[in-house]
Symmetry: C2
Subunit: 240 residues, 2 copies
């Protein structure tokens, strides 16, 4: 089976004055997370959409399901873990209850990236089947700079090799289980990115082409931009 995993474990500490996590803020009268879920619901290859939610907001998410997805069997809600990878693990546990086949694929996606396209989903599924694990990226537009001390630059990597990671990140469920169970507690504390975890354990994480419009809503500024983008969805610039 092919599962979508919507990652909504966050509580949105960078969104300023809003009192609910950013994935629940409305755009066009619909929560951001619902815009994400919609894309996976309509995609023919996705069997189930499993949404991993912060336990404090689990009931709130059930209300969203009741309000926007009444009778939609494709949507499943599970409580997430204390960090990103443990939320993915909660979703993985749910896929095992529902299928447990060694061929199962999981397409994980941020609950706050509502501009994902059906094409990205298709290409993620293809790459996960072919290579085992893949990450959606765009070439970095800005020069990337490192500072190990937050005071001055310690390195500037070659720009042509540098990408900005987006999501989806997709993989064979079986592979995730192998890799996740081999991580020590100390490793899990440091490695918050699933693809980094795969990479550390020796897997080749293949690249899938993302899109500049596949933005992550992190700050109030992004929320504003996202609202404007959603209003202009008919515009070619935003639907490529």
């Amino acid at each position: 089976m092919i599962f979508a995993g919507v990652l909504a474990g966050g509580i949105g500490s960078r969104m300023g004055n809003y009192t609910i996590p950013k994935q629940f803020l409305l755009i066009n009268d619909r929560p951001i997370i619902a815009h994400v879920i919609d894309k996976f619901i309509v995609h023919n290859y996705i069997d189930y959409v499993i949404t991993g939610v912060n336990p404090d907001w689990y009931r709130y998410m059930l209300d969203i399901k009741e309000k926007y997805y009444k009778g939609v069997d494709k949507l499943v809600i599970v409580p997430g873990g204390s960090d990103r990878n443990s939320t993915i693990n909660s979703i993985v546990e749910q896929t095992k209850k529902m299928s447990g086949s060694p061929d199962d694929i999981l397409v994980t996606h941020d609950a706050v990236r509502p501009f994902i396209t059906l094409k990205m989903i298709s290409e993620n599924i293809d790459a996960a089947i072919k290579y085992g694990v893949c990450d959606t990226v765009i070439p970095a537009t800005d020069t990337i700079v490192y500072s190990e001390n937050k005071e001055y630059i310690t390195d500037i990597p070659l720009r042509s090799n540098t990408y900005q990671g987006q999501t989806p990140q997709s993989f064979k469920v079986k592979l995730f289980e192998e890799v996740y169970s081999s991580m020590t507690d100390d490793e899990l504390k440091i490695v918050t990115d699933a693809c980094k975890m795969f990479m550390l354990k020796g897997h080749k994480v293949h690249l899938v082409e993302g899109n500049v419009s596949n933005i992550k809503i992190t700050y109030p500024y992004d929320y504003k931009i996202a609202q404007i983008m959603m209003e202009n969805l008919q515009d070619d610039m935003f639907t490529v």
Copy 2:
């Protein structure tokens, strides 16, 4: 003296169907480059704004000066070089004609980042005086990923040490001359970023805090966003 150097050497190959370089596209009936120049003209500490333009567009830029800055002595136009650093060098040569003091400071800025703030300019001047060279950056919001082969990930650096470089990049003119003249032709071909050049030659490039709204207009998508942002400039979200 304190100089601003507006870098307009580019011809905008990523802007799709537009027939003029992106810095000359209009926002609110005013070229993007003029929005940039305005900020430096009004800043009290800046003595002169030297704009380095691609030689093919030098006359076009003179027309902009005539149309929007008639009688503004603070604005100087010079033909730029074949790449970013040689355009900076053309501007540096101009500063030497106008001052040549060992204390001269140059604040360089992309002609396509119209949302620079007066605060960023002030902080750049302070840091360049204090440390010799500085770069304006924001903490990377996306996870940064490397691929040396464009197929799969070869490294994912620690996110907390990773920044997106913006501009201004500011420095003592004297220091730039030392560093630039010590670069070999091969080095100059590879190193397109001024701060990387300083870093390679052993200088500590200090960090100055940028802003997410200080975007670079690279793609048609950015141009659209920039137009909307400019219309909303009264809004707190865009003027922080």
